[in-house]
């Protein structure tokens, strides 16, 4: 079957931090996760935008919690896309969220193989980048095999570096994975973290913002070559000052790269990364 933007839809969840997807592409959908402050539950982005979330986070005495979409949420999204013969439902790493699980259950409930659920093994704008890579192939016509190969290569090649002000939020949410070995969060030590095989891992520790930027730059340069198709994304949790600095680094060291996305981390990802977190993503596509 030849897959195109006419017959194939792409469903994202809100941890992709790409809420504009449906308005930019008619074949895309965006299913929100939930954020809960005490007794009040909000749909990520839909009922609680990033700006209001960080404001609330500062003011609220209770710490927020998050919940994956229900299988029913996905069933509804898939049913709404009945005009499409194929759906790629692309989600945050199944090792840090039950979202993939909900989507799988929904797909099973509908039966058949119309819906293909993809575990991105990563999070946030990396997932948005994967959706664009799929969309580029749909735009020129593609096959399931080609998309499967793309996903496999994405698992290998897509990289994330991120840093947080404190490991507290990751620890509280249990999203710390093997990065747990980092000690000394009281000591102004900024961990540089990555995602490996779907889990958060510690890569380095540095002291201060300048050193974190230098570490990002060094690792980015080591892992990439300047050329067309190198795509970069930058996300931050209420720390917009990093975006300009990181963009300048990208333009300086990899002038041919394209900065595909910049975004503020939404409420769900922000709950787990904490204010001050910054993510730097890249993927060499065609």
């Amino acid at each position: 079957m030849n897959l195109t933007t006419e017959n194939t839809a792409v469903v994202l969840d809100s941890t992709s931090d790409y809420p504009e997807a449906p308005s930019r592409f008619p074949n895309m959908r965006f299913v929100p996760l939930y954020v809960r402050f005490g007794d009040d539950t909000y749909r990520d982005y839909v009922e609680l935008g990033p700006a209001e979330f960080y404001e609330k986070l500062r003011a609220s005495p209770v710490t927020p919690a998050t919940a994956q979409p229900t299988p029913q949420d996905f069933v509804e999204a898939y049913e709404e896309l009945s005009a499409y013969e194929r759906i790629y439902s692309v989600h945050v790493s199944s090792k840090v969220s039950g979202t993939f699980q909900s989507a799988e259950l929904a797909a099973q409930q509908l039966g058949g193989d119309r819906v293909r659920v993809v575990d991105s093994l990563t999070a946030s704008l990396a997932v948005a980048m994967l959706s664009h890579a799929i969309q580029r192939r749909l735009a020129r016509g593609t096959t399931d095999q080609e998309i499967e190969a793309l996903v496999a290569r994405f698992h290998e090649d897509a990289e994330v570096l991120f840093t947080v002000e404190t490991l507290e939020y990751l620890q509280r949410g249990g999203r710390i994975g093997r990065a747990a070995a980092l000690a000394g969060s009281l000591l102004n030590v900024r961990p540089i973290l990555g995602v490996d095989d779907g889990v958060v891992v510690a890569i380095a520790r540095v002291r201060g913002r300048q050193k974190a930027l230098a570490e990002f730059e060094r690792r980015f340069v080591e892992a990439t070559a300047d050329g067309p198709g190198l795509r970069v994304a930058i996300a931050h949790a209420d720390a917009a000052e990093w975006v300009g600095t990181l963009s300048e680094i990208v333009w300086r060291v990899r002038p041919k790269a394209e900065i595909e996305f910049t975004a503020t981390l939404g409420a769900v990802v922000g709950t787990h990364a904490g204010p001050g977190a910054v993510g730097f993503f890249w993927f060499q596509d065609e």
Partner: protein, 530 residues
């Protein structure tokens, strides 16, 4: 009881306890989760070993006296103080005879148990007390009368293990937390070390990784009091009961032990000054240690959360550091040093000390932070002597070493760590403030004896009788050239820093200032800018 034999047994006990120290620290929930029972017992036992090393005792009685004294003087924390009484009761019996027999050992265990129970005002079962009492009971069993001394020791050890396993049945807080008693666990490991030392068998391997504890064991209530306060009062005709009843009014977890010439005090209180004043009213106070238990509890939680199940990173690289001062030791340990050797400017460790630490680290790849320009060469000698792959990161001072160790990750390869830590060293500017010991001119700075002297990267830059002037000059210089973070390690004789930190924040608004209690001698302040 021969000095040589006792030395050997004490060393063997210490060695075994050291390898369980972390695990025991993490078990600690009773009486308060201050997370340092293992450390306290190690320090207590270490002071016994050190006293034995310098002892010249010629007979059994003299050995007993030296050991009792060292245990009392070196006792740290609640568990250390009770342990010192176990030791006292044990060796007082053995000291009455030159040889050792099974029946004498049995009486020694009884003496240990009785002395320990007497030391505690309200004995609690399910603790170290239960373990030593059951050990004594085992040694007295009729069936065991015919055992030879080594066989008896093995039976007593087995009973101790069994008693330890049952501590959660006796103490609710242990059952709720799903752990055995930390002090009891320490006593069993000490006994195991001694017994294996006596039988000549190799000690069983200690687990490298801490046991994973449940969430309940991690989050325990804070002590109602903040400061764990320990000191010794020396004098004549000291009245133990009178001191005890006064101290009871200002805190809990109270222990007062010793004899009329020396009393060891352990108390948890919000008024450590008041406790000390009660001591100085009676005699000379020595060996004062005051620890903020709330900080200890937080550190323990952090350590345990980091090590929570499923989150254990593979240990690729071990780190050995040489550090002066207890605060610096803890700082380096909290940042990942597997072994910290006490030492520095006034006390350089030997290559053998460093080698022993390298060998004790459970990884084949080891990094060493010498943290003193006079130790770098020794560290390199030790590296050359070791069969392990060892890299020396040439840190010339403890504060430079601090800038390096903040970048260390045990889960990363030694190459990556070495690169990152050398970068840390290269990006750090260090300063130190000390007191001039004589009139001198150094690097063009005229210095008079007793004045404060400030150095930047080992070069004298300022000297003045006014401490603040020296500190600000040094700090202005280390911060020259886009530095982000200033770390201050306070040592002996450090001034109060509240005003200074305020002044720094005004002068250098973009710099983050962090202050740690280093505890190093001779240098009231060490600073490093990164």
């Amino acid at each position: 009881m021969e000095l040589e034999v006792v030395r050997h047994l004490a060393r063997s006990a210490l060695q075994n306890l050291e390898s369980h120290r972390r695990r025991i620290d993490d078990l600690n929930v009773y009486p308060v989760p201050d997370g340092d029972t293992g450390t306290n017992l190690v320090l207590t036992l270490r002071s016994i070993v050190e006293a034995l090393d310098s002892s010249t005792a010629a007979d059994s009685e003299a050995v007993a006296k030296d050991v009792t004294r060292a245990a009392l003087m070196g006792a740290r924390g609640n568990s250390g103080v009770i342990f010192s009484q176990v030791v006292r009761g044990f060796v007082e019996v053995l000291g009455q005879h030159e040889g050792v027999s099974s029946s004498l050992l049995s009486r020694a265990f009884r003496g240990a148990s009785d002395t320990a129970y007497r030391a505690v005002k309200r004995p609690v079962e399910g603790t170290m007390l239960t373990v030593i009492r059951e050990m004594a009971e085992e040694s007295e069993r009729k069936e065991n009368r015919r055992l030879r001394p080594n066989e008896l020791l093995l039976a007593v050890l087995a009973r101790g293990e069994d008693a330890l396993a049952r501590t959660p049945d006796l103490l609710d807080i242990l059952r709720d937390a799903g752990v055995v008693d930390a002090g009891g666990a320490g006593l069993v490991e000490i006994a195991r070390g001694m017994v294996y030392g006596a039988t000549g068998d190799d000690l069983p391997e200690a687990p490298v990784e801490a046991e994973s504890l449940g969430f309940d064991a991690i989050h325990q209530e804070l002590s109602q009091y903040r400061y764990c306060t320990v000191f010794v009062v020396e004098g004549d005709g000291l009245d133990k009961d009178a001191l005890e009843s006064r101290l009871e009014l200002i805190g809990d977890s109270l222990l007062v032990v010793g004899d009329p010439t020396a009393l060891k005090v352990h108390v948890h209180t919000d008024e450590p000054g008041h406790a000390l004043a009660l001591g100085t009213a009676l005699g000379v106070v020595e060996g004062v240690e005051i620890a903020n238990m709330h900080v200890q509890t937080a550190q323990r939680e952090e350590r345990l959360l980091e090590g929570s199940p499923g989150a254990l990173a593979t240990l690729e690289t071990g780190l050995v550091a040489v550090c002066p001062g207890r605060g610096n030791r803890r700082l380096f340990e909290s940042l990942g040093a597997a072994r910290v050797i006490e030492g520095g400017a006034s006390m350089n460790p030997s290559a053998a000390d460093i080698l022993a630490a390298i060998e004790a680290v459970p990884t084949p790849e080891v990094l060493v932070l010498p943290n003193n320009s006079n130790v770098i060469l020794t560290a390199e000698q030790a590296a050359a002597l070791s069969e392990k792959s060892v890299r020396v990161i040439p840190s010339k001072s403890v504060q430079a070493g601090f800038a390096a160790i903040t970048r260390f990750m045990s889960s990363a390869s030694p190459q990556d760590n070495e690169r990152a830590m050398l970068e840390g060293l290269a990006g750090a500017v260090t300063g130190e403030i000390t007191v001039a010991s004589r009139d001198v001119e150094l690097d063009g700075v005229a210095i008079s004896k007793g004045a404060y002297l400030g150095l930047v990267d080992d070069v004298a830059v300022v000297s003045d009788a006014d401490l603040e002037a020296v500190v600000l000059e040094v700090i202005d210089r280390v911060l020259a050239g886009r530095k982000e973070i200033l770390t201050i390690l306070t040592g002996e004789g450090a001034p109060p820093l509240d005003g200074l930190v305020g002044a720094l924040e005004q002068r250098h608004p973009d710099v983050e200032v962090e202050v740690h209690e280093g505890g190093q001698p001779h240098y009231p302040l060490l600073v490093v800018a990164e």
